[in-house]
């Protein structure tokens, strides 16, 4: 009988600890499938961050390094500079990346580190029980914005993809979601594109995945998906913010499109001309 579906080898057998309806599981799977599809499981090195996915290193089956809160892009820099031909990625939440780790993400992008960032934006600090994140929507109730986020008191959300796309070092930045089959397929395409960008040494790539946190949003999983579509997408429109015109051939080889100057100048991103 033909196999129509099987678990990906990119994930270990360990059961996820994520809450029912949480998008982290779907996103893990997409990353894992991309590793397998590109024959990268044996060479890739991933960097787990601090958040609900602190132990994603137990699930994703390539080599994994656990980083301190917000520091994953710096850790990935240290790895990638040594393993220039291996796929190196970080998996970071919005508290991790957009709050405590702003310096690290901005400078990794500015240096055009040839790494890929999977940025999971669920508009709250999931792990520490739903505090306001830099990405929390205006009016959104969290444990630390009990009357809803009030810009006059708590400021405005940070649109990470938009602001990072202004940096010359960023090669490819796209925002996706995984609320339904079509969007999941689209997210997978984006992750594959980021993989290609890195493989061709074009520089920094980031895929922002809008994600639900049913537990801390206090919503049932399906309602949470709808809430994401209705509210988060307004603040965080889906789409490609940088590198939309970059194309690859069927073998994943770079064909055309605007890329950072670093990628033009160096065969190997991260090597200095002496």
């Amino acid at each position: 009988m033909a196999v129509v579906f099987e678990p990906t080898k990119g994930l270990t057998d360990k059961p996820f600890h994520y809450c029912p309806g949480c998008c982290h599981g779907i996103i893990h799977r997409l990353v894992a499938e991309t590793l397998v599809a590109n024959d990268a499981l044996e060479t890739a090195v991933g960097v787990a961050s601090v958040g609900c996915t602190y132990n994603s290193y137990e699930y994703i089956a390539c080599d994994m390094v656990q980083a301190a809160h917000g520091r994953a892009p710096a850790v990935a820099t240290g790895i990638k500079r040594n393993l220039k031909d291996s796929f190196v990625f970080t998996y970071q939440g919005d508290g991790d990346l957009a709050s405590i780790g702003t310096a690290e993400i901005v400078h990794a992008a500015a240096r055009s580190e040839n790494i890929t960032v999977i940025f999971v934006n669920n508009a709250v600090y999931g792990m520490t029980s739903g505090q306001m994140a830099p990405t929390t929507l205006v009016g959104q109730v969290t444990t630390t914005s009990p009357w809803g986020r009030d810009p006059s008191y708590q400021g405005y959300p940070i649109n990470v993809s938009e602001f990072l796309s202004n940096l010359a070092g960023a090669a490819y930045i796209e925002r996706v979601c995984v609320t339904d089959f079509k969007n999941i397929q689209n997210a997978k395409r984006a992750i594959q594109k980021a993989f290609n960008v890195q493989k061709n040494k074009l520089g920094f790539s980031l895929v922002e995945v809008l994600s639900t946190c049913p537990t801390n949003w206090g919503k049932d999983p399906l309602v949470a998906m709808e809430w994401l579509k209705e509210n988060m997408e307004k603040q965080y429109p889906l789409g490609c913010y940088k590198g939309a015109d970059i194309t690859f051939d069927a073998d994943g080889k770079y064909v055309s499109g605007a890329i950072p100057a670093t990628a033009n100048n160096c065969v190997n991103v991260g090597e200095v001309k002496k």
Partner: protein
């Protein structure tokens, strides 16, 4: 072995020694008075095909160190006191994940932004933790440029051997001073296998994971006990110190690094006054040479210790632990980036010898 002697600055020797030790990764952030380490690396590291990254902060730099070490590569960062404070989070993670790393602290006077002159006020931070959790760093305090060279090379071997941070503690004087160095033709590099490194599975049936988080208390306790066992081995095997003029010594000076060089001259001056002064100079601040201090305290000739430091009295606590109340421990220190004059120390020795001051001491 053919040795060529060259006149070099301490900070540059640190960088050169690292490269000679096979280190091909340097990540740092500018700060006085260690800047020359970085300048040297910016050029030399790139020329030898290694990685040099000027990080956005010391926090980022130490995490780049963490990444390179996790992937199995020799790596170094350097900074000075305020920057080392920022690195403490990363150093704690490096301890937890058991990664080999070399961290150089060219200490300046604190607290806060303090000043840029030489000091030893980071002794507690370096030897008693610094970051969170129960962990240790091997802490080495060279006293000359030649020693700086040899001990930086050694630091990489020790870091690899024990999978922990090896910290070189210097100060502005040592970093800035020029002295002749005799480089070896070949460095005694000990290459160790790193089967734990996360650099790709490459056919292994399991994936390598580098982490410091263990949510289960029993697992974490076991992990901690393993760390403590490792530290005991380091304590048993890696204590280094220099004993100077200890035979028949009446007063034993304890001092490290730059401060010990000033004290060395005082020994001679005291001898001219008929006072026999010896010195124990810890080279490893952790593990600390408690036994050497204890044995000195047992010597019938020894009347007292005089601990001299460029701080308000930090190593003195370890000297007291070693002496264990058997002999009094006096103190002389300077603060703010000032160095003691030889005369100040000599006066104190005379006063101790004549029984004119009380234990502890002033500045």
């Amino acid at each position: 072995m053919a040795q060529k002697r060259v006149l070099m600055k301490g900070n540059e020797v640190i960088a050169e020694a690292a490269i000679r030790a096979g280190c091909r990764n340097y990540f740092g952030y500018p700060i006085t008075p260690q800047t020359e380490v970085m300048h040297y690396m910016a050029k030399k590291m790139v020329q030898v095909g290694g990685n040099f990254v000027q990080a956005e902060s010391e926090v980022a730099a130490i995490n780049m160190v963490y990444g390179a070490a996790a992937a199995g590569f020799r790596v170094m960062t350097s900074s000075s006191s305020p920057g080392i404070s920022l690195k403490q989070e990363g150093i704690s993670y490096i301890a937890g994940a058991e990664l080999p790393a070399v961290v150089v602290n060219i200490v300046r006077a604190g607290p806060g932004l303090g000043g840029i002159q030489p000091a030893q006020g980071d002794y507690f931070q370096a030897t008693k933790g610094g970051g969170h959790g129960d962990y240790r760093n091997i802490v080495i305090a060279p006293a000359s440029v030649q020693e700086l060279y040899e001990l930086v090379v050694e630091a990489f071997n020790l870091a690899d051997k024990y999978r922990m941070t090896c910290m070189i503690v210097g100060d502005g004087t040592l970093g800035q001073m020029m002295e002749p160095v005799a480089f070896r033709d070949e460095e005694p590099i000990v290459n160790v296998e790193k089967p734990w490194a996360a650099c790709g599975r490459k056919g292994d049936s399991f994936h390598h994971t580098v982490t410091s988080i263990y949510i289960d208390p029993d697992v974490l306790e076991k992990k901690n006990l393993e760390l403590q066992d490792k530290y005991k081995i380091v304590e048993a095997n890696e204590v280094r110190y220099e004993a100077i003029n200890m035979e028949d010594a009446e007063i034993v000076i304890t001092a490290f690094a730059t401060c010990s060089r000033i004290c060395r001259n005082v020994i001679r001056q005291a001898a001219e006054l008929g006072i026999k002064v010896g010195m124990i100079r810890p080279i490893t601040l952790w593990p600390f040479p408690y036994k050497a201090i204890s044995e000195a305290a047992d010597m019938s000739s020894v009347k007292a210790f005089l601990d001299v430091e460029l701080n308000a009295g930090q190593m003195i606590e370890d000297v007291r632990l070693g002496a264990n109340g058997k002999k009094p421990v006096y103190f002389h220190g300077r603060l703010g980036g000032n160095l003691p004059m030889q005369k100040e120390i000599l006066d104190k020795i005379v006063a101790i010898h004549e029984g004119k001051i009380t234990e502890g001491g002033n500045f």
